[in-house]
Symmetry: C2
């Protein structure tokens, strides 16, 4: 992949516990922040239940549409962990014991503790490439452009760093934030005009409430630093004209 191309990814969060509200998903944010830092743009996130047919269809759909797909959840030892088997089906691969994963797990556990439940974590799509797990032994895995990670947030986070060499990002997406003491409606019309004149910059407007005071964060995102600089100049001019208090600017 060349550095001029935009590189896209999708995230699939697998788990009934997120859909029922029992568990608050934080893995989307961890993966999104990390991908953003290596210049990969997340296009879409889906949260889906532990149902094989749905996992298979969602993976098949999103792996075609994106450069990379990340899944989180469903690779543990219990009956409701069906991601590895589903990924095998999605790629039409055998679901079998991965010799190297088996070896890693066998060495990780004390003699006699590598029981049937734990052995299940060595079952993967054939030819899967392992993702090292520095926290709890059980590896994740990669099949073509699909990266399968666990659902436990701390373990997932510990595994992302090791993936840097597996992924080629695109042109880095630069971001610049201008925090203003105002309300959105005060600047909405002018911001619309500035957006129209600055097509190469994505201008986001996000109200916030902090320490009892309201404000708006204007976020400029682009692959081109000059375009951000030009757009920022217009916004600072607007701030000046409207006599709005500028809280700060953050790179």
């Amino acid at each position: 992949m060349t550095k001029n191309k935009q590189v896209n990814a999708a995230i699939i969060i697998i788990g009934n516990e997120i859909l029922s509200g029992r568990t608050k998903d934080t893995n989307t944010n961890s993966i999104a922040l990390w991908l953003n830092s290596i210049a990969v743009k997340v296009q879409e996130v889906r949260v889906i239940p532990d149902i094989q047919e749905i996992i298979v269809n969602t993976v098949k759909d999103l792996k075609k549409k994106n450069d990379y797909v990340f899944t989180s959840g469903g690779i543990g030892p219990t009956h409701d962990d069906i991601t590895a088997e589903s990924i095998s089906k999605a790629f039409d691969l055998k679901y079998e014991i991965h010799k190297n994963a088996f070896k890693i797990l066998e060495e990780y556990y004390k003699p006699g503790e590598f029981n049937e439940g734990r052995q299940k974590m060595a079952w993967m799509p054939s030819q899967a490439k392992l993702i090292e797990n520095p926290t709890s032994g059980a590896p994740g895995f990669i099949v073509e452009n699909v990266f399968c990670l666990p659902g436990v947030p701390s373990i997932l986070k510990s595994m992302l760093g090791g993936l840097k060499n597996e992924i080629s990002g695109g042109q880095p997406i630069l971001s610049y934030t201008i925090n203003l003491r105002t309300v959105e409606s005060e600047i909405a019309k002018s911001l619309t005009n500035i957006q129209k004149k600055n097509k190469g910059v994505e201008i986001g407007s996000y109200p916030f409430f902090k320490a009892g005071k309201v404000g708006v964060s204007i976020v400029l995102r682009s692959e081109d630093k000059n375009k951000i600089t030009a757009c920022n100049k217009e916004i600072l001019q607007l701030v000046d004209e409207k006599k709005i208090q500028l809280i700060n600017q953050v790179n």
Copy 2:
């Protein structure tokens, strides 16, 4: 809708700021918990960017597949707030000033403060039904089975309660949690067998780490209380046989 039917919903989170990782989504969890409490099952969540074509297609797709669809985000006063216009397109309705929304907003703001930016929040699909906003004036809206809510978490939460009469839930989904001082692999095989014998109960297994100690929450979910009781009995028997410490049971 009768009380015997399962009632399904999908959630669409609209916003580039979630996909870039800038903002952590908590609205999925708020909506999911609330729907769960009124016996509506969330089947799917999608996080999508502020792009009209994608919003239109996602809404069209999910409104057919689900009894209810909830959107969050994109109904504010700025140029990147394009949900109302997109919903109009998805339903082939005019995008126009909603007289009642205009009146509510006009009364909410002080004289002279109801500017063009704020007036934008009265633009909606024609014939939209308003959702009252007890926090900040600007109403959400309903078109057929699609409910459009704002992205600011505190405002979204304040609006959910008022929707109870708009939604008919199904058979309540009962849930029972058994917290054990064990690890998943210890009980995985037995749990698989119990799941096979208890088809009417969805058994979830979730490892946790709390105050330096590991444990597993077994969550039983079913519409039938007797089925949960029978399944729970088998799990307590397993706990007894394996001499696992039972931390507690939570209804």
